[in-house]
Symmetry: C2
Subunit: 364 residues, 2 copies
């Protein structure tokens, strides 16, 4: 075989060569909410590092101590989620007793953060798991419960913590392991939204108009540090459904925001959408990409349930409330592997659920 | 202090002393389904031990090899869940492409069984976590999605495997650890139900008429082997809501069935309900209590998502289909701790979601 040929074929094995876009699911899967569920309260709590990033000033609360005075990082995460849920309920000018049900999830094994928080708060609980896509899954299921007329007030929430996620998925911080350049940084934070019926009082709040549950997509990536590349195809699949099944073009959104693809992952997503003939413009951003400054040494950016959950419930909701954004699409992405499945040689399956939220100044 | 006083107070610390019933949540939390979602297909797959138990003959499929020809127990669990989902869809005389969304969960960290199965099946996925209460949480959310008019066909599923659960929550089987007499045996199995809209063709199938999401209840138990005692108060809380908020007495049900409290747990539940003035009669059974024979050496009985999921989708659905049961209440129970949370000294929070299912011969 000639030398050039061989060199070429070696190049094509390079790790970050953009692969062919995966098969698209033709299934019609958009849920439309005609009874206009509203997001009437919200709160984001973050750690110190996040509060110093580019969108830091928008977060409602910053915890300067990673353990928040608790004995373990896990207890600290529970405390953050508790603060976010109670804060969102207060922001909605409601009491905990007004909340019919709580829909939440997190990254920890058996979702202990959510369960312990829901136990302490004392509201019926529906546990969901979508890894870092939890916030959109929560908003979607809350919208379904309210829009369908089953409940009046539902709170949905998600959390993650850098130290608990590193301990569980990679190495405990004490080990001092080096991180590869394509790694992301799990956001320490928690966020919650209160979704309520469309009463007269609630008309001044943003409304959830549709949602798309994600299809699990697997690109064959099995590197636990390279979440962005693993999740991009899942975001593409849901985004493709969004732009072909809802009647909206990408220009119809003031913002299309993905969860935590990071720099590398969002580049891959742009490329994949390009190949499908749906070019993403300046209105596309990724939360993982904007939560940290370059000089904060987080390599490809933020990740974790809280990454997009905290940005949605602060920065994005602020701009929906004041009408700067008329309509946004929020697609959080989640990687659904466990350490066990990766040790056993499995690849990383990923998912992306989407919700479309409109400003109260859009229509009626 | 006199000797007798001291002896008395020592007695009151005995492990299985029945405690005071916990506070009951007064919240109105029943969801009613007026558009009559129907369970039009189902399948249960179990392991060999389960197929030899008292209800063994009702299960649709039995796997005699615990690894089912796969390299790992985890892969075997994925294969079982895959079989159950595809079987339920076939039983509903539908194709996979007819299914709008899959709602499922399991016990493994990050719910890998569900995610890998949903990836292979290729249906949009909504991941739920309720530990062993997953099947009722799945039926509840599926009923919401169908009843609310968002989808026509939803499949919900749950699975567990003795070997994967032991490895994760207690000790790997190879370790040969002794089990205490109050332990339960995780059921190896998987089950799925297809929930569909109330079309003319579907009128001959059982209907889901209401559901109650569970409140997380914690009795202060922290022994990972004693799930029944931990879960009984959660079952009591939901059962109390069922019998005080729906207009039904316990006599209105041909069967009230809990998930996997086992012998000890269901005795505690009877006691707790008694103290609340709501005596449970002969129509109350516990799936964990009936899945194994006494001579199968499973101590307090079965546990795991699959315990009640497989019994509901075989034995109970059979009797609903033929009209022997007119109305049943199914309350699966889940223990929401992780090994990490227990090592850190946390107690076990538990939950119980309920669904009420009626025979097609009941009314219309």
């Amino acid at each position: 075989m000639p030398l050039f040929k061989s060199k070429e074929s070696k190049q094509s094995e390079t790790k970050f060569e953009f692969p062919e876009p995966p098969k698209i699911s033709p299934r019609q899967r958009v849920m439309r909410f005609f009874n206009t569920p509203r997001i009437v309260g919200r709160m984001s709590v973050v750690g110190e590092k996040e509060s110093k990033g580019p969108v830091g000033k928008y977060f409602q609360k910053c915890e300067t101590d990673d353990k928040m005075g608790e004995k373990t990082f896990e207890r600290a995460e529970i405390r953050m989620l508790d603060t976010a849920v109670r804060g969102a309920v207060r922001d909605a000018r409601k009491e905990i007793d007004d909340i019919d049900v709580m829909v939440s999830g997190d990254l920890l094994n058996q979702m202990t953060t959510s369960s312990y928080t829901a136990r302490d708060i004392g509201v019926p609980h529906i546990g969901i798991y979508g890894a870092c896509s939890t916030m959109t899954e929560g908003l979607m299921m809350s919208a379904v419960l309210v829009d369908g007329g089953y409940y009046e007030n539902v709170v949905c929430a998600a959390s993650s913590h850098f130290a608990t996620a590193e301990r569980q998925f990679r190495y405990p911080l004490e080990y001092g392991c080096q991180r590869p350049p394509y790694a992301q940084w799990t956001v320490t934070g928690a966020a919650a939204s209160v979704v309520s019926t469309n009463t007269k009082d609630n008309r001044r709040f943003p409304k959830i108009v549709m949602a798309i549950p994600g299809l699990i997509t697997d690109f064959g990536i099995n590197d636990l540090n390279n979440m962005g590349a693993a999740m991009a195809p899942a975001a593409m699949d849901t985004m493709f459904a969004l732009l072909t099944q809802t009647g909206y073009d990408s220009d119809d959104f003031d913002l299309i925001v993905t969860g935590d693809l990071g720099k590398l992952g969002s580049d891959i997503l742009r490329h994949l959408m390009d190949k499908r003939g749906l070019k993403l413009g300046q209105n596309y951003i990724d939360c993982g990409n904007i939560i940290y400054d370059v000089d904060q040494k987080c390599y490809q950016g933020g990740s974790g349930c809280a990454c997009s959950a905290t940005i949605f419930n602060s920065f994005i909701m602020d701009k929906l409330m004041n009408g700067e954004y008329k309509r946004i699409a929020y697609l959080a992405t989640g990687a659904l592997m466990s350490t066990q499945s990766c040790y056993q040689g499995e690849t990383i399956p990923c998912i992306s659920h989407a919700v479309v939220v409109e400003s109260p100044f859009n229509g009626e």
